[in-house]
């Protein structure tokens, strides 16, 4: 049986952040999709939120829909197609923060050779948006 939170988070590695925010990221077949996913992993690893299964929300699995309705969600999309944001909106959820990797000056392509600086750029954008209380 699939239950909400089955992909959820291991124990916080650092007790300084919050696990109340759900992090939903693109993991699509391009560099920007993978950067989005890596940024979400990093934010989870810094204790700034819990990664959550964006694909399960896209598939509209009931338990996962309930999960995103219960906590604030950060959507990290790779490109303007914005599958993650749309997946949330399709189940009536507006993310508290929406970041699009290509809007940060990273060009979309099909090579998976991104750098740590690329990930840092997306992490920074999410942190800034959360601090600014983006809605």
């Amino acid at each position: 049986m699939i239950v909400a939170g089955c992909c959820a988070p291991s124990e916080p590695t650092c007790a300084c952040g919050t696990k109340d925010v759900l992090l939903l990221a693109c993991s699509g077949g391009s560099n920007v999709g993978q950067i989005a996913n890596d940024a979400a992993k990093a934010l989870d690893g810094y204790g700034q939120g819990s990664m959550y299964c964006a694909v399960a929300v896209g598939a509209q699995l009931p338990n996962f829909i309930n999960g995103v309705r219960e906590k604030p969600c950060v959507a990290i999309d790779g490109c303007p197609v914005a599958c993650v944001r749309k997946s949330l909106e399709n189940v009536g959820v507006k993310p508290v923060v929406h970041v699009v990797v290509t809007e940060l000056g990273i060009e979309k392509h099909h090579a998976f050779d991104h750098t740590n600086d690329d990930i840092a750029k997306v992490v920074g954008a999410v942190v800034d948006a959360l601090a600014a209380g983006q809605t």
């Binding site: 590695t13 650092c14 300084c16 740590n116 840092a120 992490v123």
Partner: protein, 79 residues
């Protein structure tokens, strides 16, 4: 030697910093110790789980607090 402790300032990264400083003192090693707390810098340093430890630009530990014995090995260059 350049030592960076990575973490935004919770009890775990403060404990790591304390263990590193204590271990450096025990071994009488001179080092520049910096605690990097700005979260936006972590990924660029190669840290994806906190607390992290970077020695001379190399990530040697992340996501845990190494024991003093482990820190001694890390300072000596072995993993």
């Amino acid at each position: 030697m350049d030592v960076k402790i990575i973490g935004i300032g919770c009890s775990r990264c403060i404990e790591l910093e304390k263990r590193v400083i204590d271990t450096l003192a025990e071994l009488n090693i001179a080092a520049n110790v910096e605690h990097v707390t700005e979260l936006k810098k972590f990924a660029a340093l190669g840290i994806f789980m906190t607390p992290g430890l970077v020695i001379d630009g190399k990530v040697v530990s992340q996501g845990k607090i190494p024991s003093k014995d482990e820190i001694k090995k890390l300072l000596a260059g072995g993993k």
